[in-house]
Structure formats: structure tokens, C-alpha cells
Symmetry: C2
Subunit: 226 residues, 2 copies
């Protein structure tokens, strides 16, 4: 049985996206800077169909995080939808096929948490998008079934990671802490209603521009506690 993991870049002031995201700027104002450490890495470039790139500790962290993923769970906004069925006015009203292009970098089944039913999308390179309307537990159950012995990666955004933490369903969290200040946006570690001892640091790797903090989720709320 694989683990349920989440890997996400966070600003020093706690945000995983900047303010005012829209279809042009889905990570919000300043949010792209959270990910600059990753774009030059070989382990990021390869699944995106790009050659070359740097190696080293950051690359090993990404290689490790990418290895052994059998399925992905993400939120509607990360797929590409907004507030409406497939977009609020800021994000466009028409159905569309997300940010991820014809050959998305996931190369596994992806389960998109949404309130709006939609037919499964099949993309090139092994990525399918399945739209799950009956909640985080169902999305994780389907993802685990698809992943088999491999891990399920909860890709984001903040709300989806909060949901898996609140539900006690996350095994491991890795925060890539980037020493920038966004000032506003989507905060990762809020609305958790959680035990202070929820997380135990299992590893810290630092390199210029990013510190990788890995945590084991040590206290898991059970349904009886809810």
C-alpha cells in the first residue's frame, strides 16, 4: 500500500499562491516566484518534455517526490476551473481542458475534486483527468485504487491539502520553503483545526533559495473524534 503525500512550495509568510489569481496568472500576483527554484531542474524538465537542466540536492528532492507516484489528486482551480461550472468570470465561462496542455506532466490518473460533474478527459502520455464530485474521501479512495502499490500525490491547492489534513488522510507533507514574502494569497496552514503536534519533522535539506522541510503526519483524527 502506497502513502498519501503532498509536496508544495510555500512562501516564508505561509502562502502557496499570491493574491488575485485568474486564468492569465493562476498562481496570483507574485506566486510564480514560489516555483522558480524548480524550473531549471532536470527532474522538472524531463516530465515536461524538456531536455537538460541542473542536478544536485534540489533535483534529488524533486526526483524523490516524483518517483513512485501512481495517482494525483488536485483541486478544481489547479486543474483550471474557477468558481462557476468551469470558470467564474475571471477565469472564463466556457468549459476548457485546463492549464496542462495536450501532454500533461502527470503521466498518471489525476482525480480533480469539484462540485461539477464532467466526463473524464484522456490526454497524451498517460494522464487522465477524472472529476470527483462526492468529496475528498472519495477522491482519495479512487486515487488509491488507481495507484495500487504506488503513492498518491495530493498536488494542491491549499484547500485540498487542508481537506486531506483535516480528514486525517495525509501520511507525509513536504514544504519547499521559499524565503519570499507574498503578503496575501492562499495560505496553506490554516483552517486545519488540528492538534499542534500534527507534524513531525523527518528531514530538512537546504540549498540557496529553498529549504525542503519534510514532515510525517503523526496525529490522525479519526471519524470518532469528528
Amino acid at each position: 500500500m502506497g502513502k498519501v503525500t503532498a509536496d508544495i512550495s510555500m512562501s516564508l509568510d505561509g502562502f502557496v499562491a499570491g493574491p488575485d489569481p485568474d486564468r492569465e496568472d493562476p498562481l496570483g500576483v507574485g506566486g510564480m516566484a514560489l516555483h522558480e527554484w524548480v524550473f531549471g531542474l532536470a527532474a522538472w524538465r524531463e516530465p515536461h518534455g524538456l531536455e537538460g537542466g541542473t542536478t544536485g540536492p534540489d533535483n534529488e528532492v524533486i526526483e524523490e517526490a516524483s518517483a513512485n507516484i501512481g495517482a494525483v489528486v488536485m483541486g478544481r482551480r489547479m486543474f483550471g476551473g474557477g468558481e462557476g461550472p468551469w470558470g467564474d468570470p475571471a477565469w472564463g465561462d466556457e468549459p476548457w481542458e485546463g492549464w496542462w496542455g495536450e501532454e500533461p506532466p502527470f503521466h498518471t490518473p489525476v482525480f480533480v475534486l469539484t462540485h461539477h460533474a464532467r466526463e473524464q478527459l484522456t490526454k497524451q502520455g498517460g494522464t487522465t483527468f477524472t472529476f470527483v464530485t462526492d468529496g475528498i474521501e472519495s477522491a482519495l479512495e479512487q486515487a488509491k485504487a488507481a495507484a495500487g502499490d504506488k503513492n498518491v500525490s495530493v498536488a494542491g491547492g491549499a484547500s485540498v491539502i487542508q481537506q486531506v489534513l483535516r480528514a486525517g488522510l495525509l501520511d507525509e507533507l513536504q514544504i519547499h520553503l521559499v524565503p519570499i514574502l507574498l503578503g496575501d494569497g492562499a495560505r496553506l496552514l490554516e483552517r486545519l483545526d488540528a492538534d499542534p503536534n500534527l507534524l513531525e519533522t523527518t528531514r530538512v535539506i537546504d540549498s540557496p533559495g529553498v529549504t525542503h522541510l519534510r514532515f510525517r503526519v503523526v496525529k490522525r483524527r479519526t471519524e470518532a473524534e469528528d
Copy 2:
């Protein structure tokens, strides 16, 4: 000329104190857990008049942070006052002499930022408390004069550190990141109105239970920019 530095423990969700602080529980609900990593260290015990304690990387970090401090700046609440002249109802109304006892651990001049004038207090062991009513620039100026060639330590709380960051007067910030979640309380890195590139990581030291992140303040707002 010394530097202006700040060293503070912060929860993973960004708080330097828990919610609902009062005179019984000045660090707020759960806030004491931010400091548990430090109480057993030799370098913390010695200035508090206690013998023994552990050594190692955490101890070296505290030794380094404590060395060469010539003066301290702190907020009214950290000294011991609340909202009223020397306390709101939750903190007690009468004037008092703070949390720090007859021989406070500072052993230097301490400048307390407040709106309420008060006579200087002289304690045993070289600590004096001087109450500064004309703002953070004045407090820092007085502290620098007192410190001479040594550093000025901005001890907290969150609001005072925010004020020195906003004023462009901090040289170095060290955050002791503790992997607990407080959920609410005093957030350190907000109301900064700052450039995202304000901070540059200069060192990371990790040990079980705490990760020490040291930053140089690289962009300083000038008066002309305000």
C-alpha cells in the same frame, strides 16, 4: 558599529505567540511550546542563573545569538504591560515590573516601546528598562547609542519586529521554525508591506524539533520610498 538583529521562534503556521495571551499565559494558548527547544540548553540556562544544560547545534545557535548584544529593544507586552497604561483588565491594571524578576536575563540596557511614559527601572545584573514613547526609530537610536560597537537585539513581539522591518532598520532576522501548528495568535510576517525579496537566506541549521533560518535583510525601504 553593531548590527540590528532579531531572533524569534515561529510556528510552522507563522505565529510567534498563541491566541488569548494574558498575565498568566503571556505567550497565549500553546505558545510556550514554541520555546521548549531552548529551555534545556546551557546557553539559555546560564543567563537565567541556572546550571547545566545540553550543548550541540541548538546551543551554538543561542550562544551566537546571545553574544555581542549591547542593548535590547522590546514591546510593551513583552516587558509585561497590556493595553492600558500598565495593563488591560486581562493583564492587570496596576503598574508592575514585568515578567522578568529581580535579575532579568538580558544583562544590558533594554528599551521598551510604549505609549505610556514611565521612570527607568534598574534591576540586578546590569539590566535597565527604559521606556520609550516616541517610536521605534527613537528606541533603536537610543539602543544603538547604549550598545556602542555591539549589536542591538530586537526581542519582539511580532509588532515590534514588523515595525523595524517596515522602517528598514533590521539587518538580520533569525527565525527558529518549530513544526507545530498554533492555528491563531500573533503572526510574525504580516503587515510588512514589503518587497518580496526583502530577505535572503544566509544559513539553515536543522536539528530535531527546530530549524534555524537566518536571513539578511537585503532591501531596505528608505524614507523617500515611504
